[in-house]
Amino acid sequence: MAIEPREPPSQLLPRLQRALGGRAGWSGFVIQILFVAVLAWIAYEIVANARANLQAQRITAGFGFLANTAGFDVSQHLIPYSGSDSYTRVFLVGLLNTLLVSVIGIFFATLIGFIVALGRLSPNWLLSKIATGYVELIRNLPLLFQILFWYLAVLAALPNPRQSISIFDRFFLSNRGLVIPKPIGEPGFEPFAIALVVAIIVAIGLWRYSRQALFDSGKVIKVWPYALGLLIGLPLISALIFGAPVMFEVPVLKGFNFAGGSRVIPEFVALTLALSTYTAAFIAEIVRAGILSVHKGQMEAGSSLGLQRGSVLRLIVIPQAMRVILPPLTNQYLNLTKNSSLAVAIGYPDLVSVFAGTTLSQTGQAIEIIGITMGVYLLISLITSAVMSFYGWRLGRSLGNS
């Protein structure tokens, strides 16, 4: 009599039960459904109530106002804008200003943060004390205070436009900001740009080739002189053949201000400076913690291979430290972006200032405008953390512990 192999009992139902109801099983599932229903009902009540109250008080509601003419001007706009444009345009202008200050702030905060962290860990006594002092001073003062300090201190130190500090009669620094010659595209611009792009692609190819050669056969091929020659040479040849790529419009003092040229407004400088130095103090501590989390033996192993301290850090320690650094670093990036809304204190036209400020008080549609603004900040933050997660995923993969 052959013995039939016993079929294992079907796991489908218990699994489903656990997946839907957690440890409590079906009753937990029912409770969850009820809970969601109650939440949905409360959300509906809140929305319906707000709508009824707005109607009762005859407060205009809806998003129709976005198409109306704004009728006010903005000091810094990355896209063409005038007072006769719509509130939608104002929204875009403010959003771009917020993104500009955030991206540039994140770049400098990371740069300063890493430098300060390395300085603090440096065996050089003076350097490490200076870095410690920087961190302790900056991170213990309120950010708004620092923004106002940079704004008012920088403004007070600068002369008025008529006595501006001029550099070669091309750059002018005054309390209206830094005025620089504005590049204007000439017919030679396109071939110049193409030449530059080609040079960059070839240079990257050369670098990859040399690295591959190093990994495959241990041969060191010096490519940087060729790459540099290409990067300078190709655009230069194009300029010689097709003419100068750009002309510079030189600013001239006319009336109260400079006419022509481009201008970096002091509000932008003060805000970027304050945000990047402030966030850098936190990033420095995160980076230091990350580096210290890598075992000391790694450093010693690197040194015993005959590598310089810098190379050990760059090739061995920091890649391992990044695993620890990345999550809190993402937090700091998000903080910086959200802190940029303090811009309103010094008159930098960011999203909160022009949209949740001026537009709100002109239209009075608080619920819609605050809703949009919150949604935008949420979106920016989610995108930032998605990018950082992707980087973390790649890093984990390359370190072999995905």
Partner: protein
């Protein structure tokens, strides 16, 4: 446990929003024993706190007059300082009962904010403040200037209209509060500070050397400033509206803070109606018969309040001009109490 507390939080939130629209402002104010009045964050002459936290100013006196009419006690007011951009939200949400914060009466504000203007406390217009050293005599010479302005005001739009209309270029830097705007102007960030003329005079006092700055002669807009109340409560709207009218009528009738008790005994029919010795006009408003004498005893008539806060008797020293009574060359005109 966590779930329960979350549900509770949300339920409370829903409950709060349910009672926002109420048509019983007078009852709410009486129950609370306090009038909640939205004012500026410090504008000399209109609403500013002294070093002991006592608020004074023309806008403040309007709220004190309302409190006097309701409670017979001008001190029963809680002043809520508001920035220009927060003021309407505070009124809509019911945080304040009256907004008396140098707010310009415009059509869009009257219709789309769910609030009504109750009258005009001060006829103002927008002007420009510049440094004397710039040697500018007219606003038309301001081409290419940098202009500091407070955000969330009608000022920004008037400015855009004026420079566009005169084909002039300018750069605008907008700040959240008046103090920051003035600081930026003082530090030289801009050549011009623009606002309502009354405010320019008030802010000029805060500068290090007021005499080095001059208000240009051009007035580029109409800025009738007045108090606001929420839509949907006509009784409260009437009370705030008639409080200001009572102050104006008192000046026209010659009733002052000093002679109010004597005048109350007068036989003149219009005085008898105003003081409630004849008829019950105050009770029709939902107040008491002696509402006018309560108001005048507390803050004086309109002319007295004006002089004390912004006029000849104050540091600002602004002339009555448009704000004089209609029969004295101005345009302040209140309907009769009868």
């Amino acid at each position: 446990m966590k779930r329960v507390s979350l549900v509770l939080t949300l339920a409370v939130a829903a409950g709060l929003s349910a009672q926002a629209a109420s048509a019983q402002t007078l009852k709410t104010v009486k129950d609370r024993g306090m009038l909640s009045c939205g004012v500026s964050q410090g504008l000399p002459g209109f609403s500013s706190p002294d070093d002991k936290g006592n608020w004074t100013g023309l806008d403040v006196d309007v709220c004190r007059a309302v409190a006097a009419a309701v409670f017979n006690d001008a001190t029963k007011v809680k002043f809520v300082p508001l920035s220009a951009k927060d003021r309407f939200t505070a009124l809509q949400s019911g945080e304040i009962d009256v907004l008396s914060r140098n707010t310009t009466w415009t059509l869009s504000r009257d219709t789309s904010l769910g609030a009504n203007f109750t009258g005009v406390t001060y006829y103002d217009g927008q002007g420009f403040l510049v440094k004397k050293s710039l040697k500018v005599n007219s606003a038309l010479e301001l081409n290419s200037a940098s202009v500091c302005v407070q955000t969330g005001t009608t000022t920004e739009q008037n400015l855009a209209d004026y420079f566009k209309g005169n084909n002039m270029k300018y750069e605008v830097i907008a700040f959240a509060s008046a103090d920051e705007t003035v600081k930026a102007y003082e530090s030289g960030r801009c050549d011009v500070f623009t606002s309502d003329v009354s405010q320019l005079y008030a802010e000029r006092l805060k500068l290090a050397n007021p005499a080095d700055h001059v208000v240009l002669p051009e007035v580029i807009s109409k800025e009738p400033l007045g108090p606001m109340v929420r839509h949907g409560d006509d009784q409260w709207f009437d009370i705030v509206k008639w409080t200001l009218f009572a102050m104006l009528d008192a000046e026209e009738l010659g009733v002052t803070q000093k002679n109010v008790d004597e005048m109350a005994k007068s036989d003149k029919p219009e005085l008898k109606r105003a003081f409630g010795t004849d008829g019950n006009l105050g009770e029709q408003l939902g107040l008491t018969k002696d509402w006018v004498s309560r108001i005048v005893k507390a803050v004086g008539n309109y002319g007295e309040a004006f002089d004390r806060n912004v006029g000849a008797g104050s540091k600002l020293g602004i002339a009555r001009g448009l704000n004089n009574l209609w029969n004295k060359g101005g345009i302040q005109y209140a309907p009769p109490i009868r």
